[in-house]
Subunit: 293 residues, 6 copies
């Protein structure tokens, strides 16, 4: 169960309205890596977390913090929209100076939300549940969390330069600091889990369970001409868990067959010609020649 405190986690103050910036800020509220995403991702991971009390508690701590970040961004956007009014838009059509300020405004900030934050990104695409993941595998999810905070902080850093409003920038600095902490946090959790279980997700599907396919786990397939990629750590040396040695395949040959799929039943209305028996024999031979395993 949750409780709400009236104060914001951090102060949100805007020196002067800027409706066009309000549109851009929507990206870090309702975009792919906005605050709605981390809020819902951490809450779902926490709600669904089975066992392992420490991680569940930690996920609930940070998920709860992120609800407050959504709240802060709605306040920021509302202040950036302060004073905007529909008839300004009629003005903007006449005057280039007004157009410069109001032209890039999201029309839904006037028509749909009445000067409030929207659950959508900088182009007005509604936030959706496929932005998040809660897989039930701790290491997989914490890697997702680290990645989300990395993309999120990157976007706030870019936004930071889009304004010279010192009030807005102060809010962004708070977000940048928290996103930095959250990167540390997920790195720490990842390190704990990797040390305990191993670095490959899922650890519980072991190399030896891959049987005859196991050697392919160490091959770099160079399928784009040019060999610059050969210089990376991924193309030489030992795997991070010491289970094998990387191999660089310079001009790799396919290991599989030419797929040769059956013509389906008439009732699928495919318009394909039925093959003659002869063709099928040829197909089978060709298939055998390509069967390499």
């Amino acid at each position: 169960m949750f409780r709400h405190q009236k104060e914001l986690q951090f102060e949100v103050k805007v020196d002067r309205p800027d409706p066009k910036l309000a549109r851009a800020v929507q990206e870090v509220l309702g975009g792919q890596f906005g605050e709605m995403t981390v809020m819902m991702q951490y809450l779902f991971q926490g709600f669904n977390c089975r066992g392992e009390e420490k991680y569940k508690d930690m996920l609930m701590d940070i998920g709860t913090e992120e609800i407050g970040h959504v709240e802060m961004l709605c306040s920021l956007i509302s202040q950036l929209l302060d004073g905007a009014s529909p008839d300004d838009q009629a003005e903007a059509a006449k005057d280039p100076a007004t157009a410069a300020i109001l032209g890039g405004m999201n029309p839904q900030h006037l028509l749909v939300s009445g000067l409030g934050g929207l659950p959508s990104n900088a182009n007005g695409i509604p936030w959706n549940g496929s932005y998040i993941v809660a897989s039930g595998n701790l290491l997989a999810d914490m890697r997702s969390n680290l990645h989300a905070e990395s993309q999120g902080r990157l976007q706030v850093a870019r936004l930071y330069h889009m304004t010279t409003d010192e009030g807005v920038r102060a809010t962004f600095r708070k977000m940048l600091a928290r996103d930095r902490y959250h990167q540390y946090q997920w790195m720490a959790a990842i390190e704990e889990l990797e040390t305990k279980n191993g670095v490959v997700v899922p650890a519980t599907f072991a190399p030896e369970d891959e049987m005859e396919a196991q050697p392919h786990a160490y091959e770099f397939w160079d399928l784009s001409e040019g060999t610059a990629s050969k210089e990376g750590r991924w193309a030489q040396g030992e795997a991070q868990d010491g289970t094998g040695e990387f191999v660089h395949l310079e001009n790799p040959a396919p290991q599989g067959n030419i797929p040769n799929m059956k013509v389906p039943a008439h009732k699928l209305h495919h318009d394909l010609a039925e093959k003659t028996g002869m063709q099928n024999v040829k197909d089978t031979v060709k298939r055998m020649l390509h069967d390499k395993e």
Copy 2:
């Protein structure tokens, strides 16, 4: 520019059709972390990559490989659907045994694709571009790639147990091996980049640029009751880049004000009461009292 070779990267063989499994396999073809996602993610990262030839080349190598994985999964799904026909569905309504086999089939495999793979997930949701990211920041994107391969391998591992068909399992083992390699690969790239630039994304927005907000980059806000989360590495010790010391805030107080937003222009048709001057004075006082920074 690309070229296509008729053979599949690895052999794809199915011992017996299983339309219900075909539905589940769609998740790793067209789902959030399916092969379409990694294919499009790596290709867009490669296409958009500026400078840094080594990484661009490597992204194109693996992106090109993943197109072939989409091809392999289409072949797998087609084979799992072999022989299915619309009138089987009429049969299934009468016979529990047939229903058991065909009941969970995706009806679009009959109606829409005519027994072929679909660009959608296990519930038929079409793949979409918001599953991927190509941000122009190498470290952020490689973390995304590591996370995608982690979720992807996890899903294939779960799928693996949903069938006892040895042909299908052999294909999955190839995918598990490759997803393992791709995790090694992104870990190696991440390590290179972290060593060069630092562990926080973006490295180019430095701690000192966060100014007065900087201390918040080391605080764990414990906002869910219970203190199990205190035991983690994230709540104690030094930050991974040595720039500060973690602080655990047990019962953190909000640092911000109660938001108090202006009543907008009449032409927004809000139905809100205009505040009296007196109320505004009270508001201002209350606001000042809560201004803590």
Copy 3:
């Protein structure tokens, strides 16, 4: 800012797992009228609420409660999925009895969430931000809230009959009771606002501002043959705000012109024939004849 308490608002107990029911329950978690919708709708209305402290406070009270309902439903779904495992699905293909229990399971509960709740509906469609509204007009939004709680309670009532599990039913009864209260709550708020401002949204665009169009605000246009609809209160008597008298138009004639749109510039590549001058004259005449206002 928010805080989290470890206990659920109400107890959630399941007598026995039922993966197929778990799929259906997703509708009231992540569907159009599920708990995610009311949670996000009330929070956004509260965050964006300007002035009017009473309503803002009330919206925050109930929005905060609804986060806890999302939490409860994740717990319910997790329990309904307890013990499910990927290899059961392989079994189900062989045995009708197992298929009956597991056949209708959402495959993403195994593959994607690892036996946890998903932010999506009963068909796996991800929740999205266009399910909610926060318009900045109190009466419009409270009508939306009443409607959401009505649809929500209806769905829970239907779900209630889909199980005989007494534990699950007890949880549903709690939800039914709360949804009943929330209907009372919005009705009460609506009544206050209608009494103060009038029954039509927005009250601030007054009948007289509609000028020459004003009479149309009292006409029932009977455009589907049959006259049963004539018997309703909407077709006779005085408008609810006493500003006019309803009129039933039995066989209404159009008031407008035949639209006659200009052929666009060549560079739009439309392939339309250019009209001759003569045709344009005829068009203008025809247009004048149909200009009825």
Copy 4:
């Protein structure tokens, strides 16, 4: 079956083109509460309506009218786009005055529709079927209809101020008048149904069927600090249907347990530690202590 008459329901005339306004008008054509929404919502409610001839007939009357409103808005948008051409966009990049007029244009009005209306909103998001509801419960749906007309009229009122074009405004006044009537209409239908069946949806799930949960149907849970919400009608007095008395819970305690979910089967690859027997005992005890019902 339907028939089409060439004349528009009301005249649609535009004094001068305004491509930027055309973009905004898309919101009330193809947005969440645009004419496509009410058209499809009333038609589906009418098509699906079982029994109750009066309501079905009425739904078909208004649904049929709304198809004509979609037609009117396409005509309005086409006229607002008259004369726009791709090379104006090349011009706009050079000249601020042209940019002011054309800058905010939806590029799809040039590229995709060739100067016609689009089935999408002011940001270009395609209309989708999850905007509508036809639940088979009359009262629930009529509340939805009242809410849709309220949001719709609010948006048209806001649009009204975005232009000074008297032709466009005359069209908007017709829409405002009709949206006013449609609010009266749904209010009248709602009143009839509430009088007959009761005010809570669904009426057929009665308070007594909620059993032990029934008292919760009268409680206001004050979960956001501050007590302004206590002053509302919803926090005091009798329920609207006289079945109980409202209770304001100032600092409500959770009624439920701490959820404690089982660690799943190994084949879900979760990486969770198995609990020791001892931990399970502790869990059970803790669970019992929190079992409050």
Copy 5:
């Protein structure tokens, strides 16, 4: 303006309910090529049609017919769902025979629509506006219409075999006949337009306007190994409009350069290394060598 007649265009009769078939039928109601698609596509093409009265009138004729097809399919689905009830689902979990009949039901037919048609496809994905096109180019759109009717009739033909219910099949036969006619209709319109303007869309961007690129309009690039494709009409002979001769490029070489994009401004936080001057020189040289036009 539109009018509605109570009778359906064709009779819709169902011999016995079949909830699972109802789910499949949703594909041809609310799927990519369902009746909602052709209805909305023809109406938008008609509403937006400028000039050319014959085509506009024809589009309105068929668009109006298609509204009635949506009506027919809602009636069909409602009848297929007759008698279904939530408690059947509880039964189905126990009894394989019931499960066989009800197991594949769309749960939203019970929970969301109360036994009515939904504006979504066979997997419950809501219909959306990106399924349709109205481009303002007649030939482009009529090709789209022919394709939509082709896919639509194909799906109905497949559905036809999924049931043995003679009532349902009679309805499908009506749809198959109409979809056949509509294919004839669009073919006839296409032939008229091709004869008048030429076969390439848009005819108004002429071959000579393609200048130096013009020869590429006759080349088949063979980029997938194997030469079976060489046998087609597309690889030999004259173009359909007689403007050139087809050329088969067996092993085509790229005509372009290796892209070499500039490292962006520091404020994009990309983490890329700045290139040294030397590298840039090398790049320029390499670029020149690849500049082939």
Copy 6:
């Protein structure tokens, strides 16, 4: 399996950056008919193609070419964005001239992709799998391909006029030429298939299988007033396959009944009145009177 060559298929050169044009170009990269669509459509049709080697090979040739077109457009967009920086946006708010150039920029090109192409259209809507079709019926799919290339070339032609940059125009001319060739290609394939199997899709559901509905395959239903549509080839003469003669129905009467659907079980909570026995008798009679077939 695929391979990548570093050079682009055609050279892509931009004379000067133009961020606003970059936004528009997204339509032909990630829009409904952009290069991602044809790439994925041809690849899926090729991957899923059963039998008929010639068509499969041809689909793989062109699908492989289209991957390279996505690559070219990413390069084009990156170059159009060259030099853009977040602080330009802060500038744009002050200066109308800068605003004219940067105002219409897609904010995600700065925030999300860091100056690279996005997998989305001109309004930022992510590309999705429902844009494509691979039905397993060759003729249906080739008609879809012809239509996609028609819409695609139309959009590029419109884009062509939106810029005077000769570098960009040269790239567009290459695309226009290729889209012209691809129209020829699909026309040729369609002609082959129509000659072999007949012009109606699917050919395998023959006219005679439509039984009593067969005559409706030749009727033009004139449901929109006005008779201009009577003049078309579709309303007179013989069907293209010579199986019947077209009939123009001037004022067609419905052939069906008034739908009269059963009131459902109480547990659906519909609030509908139960009909009396007497009403049911009347219904039945009315139904019989309307049963016309």
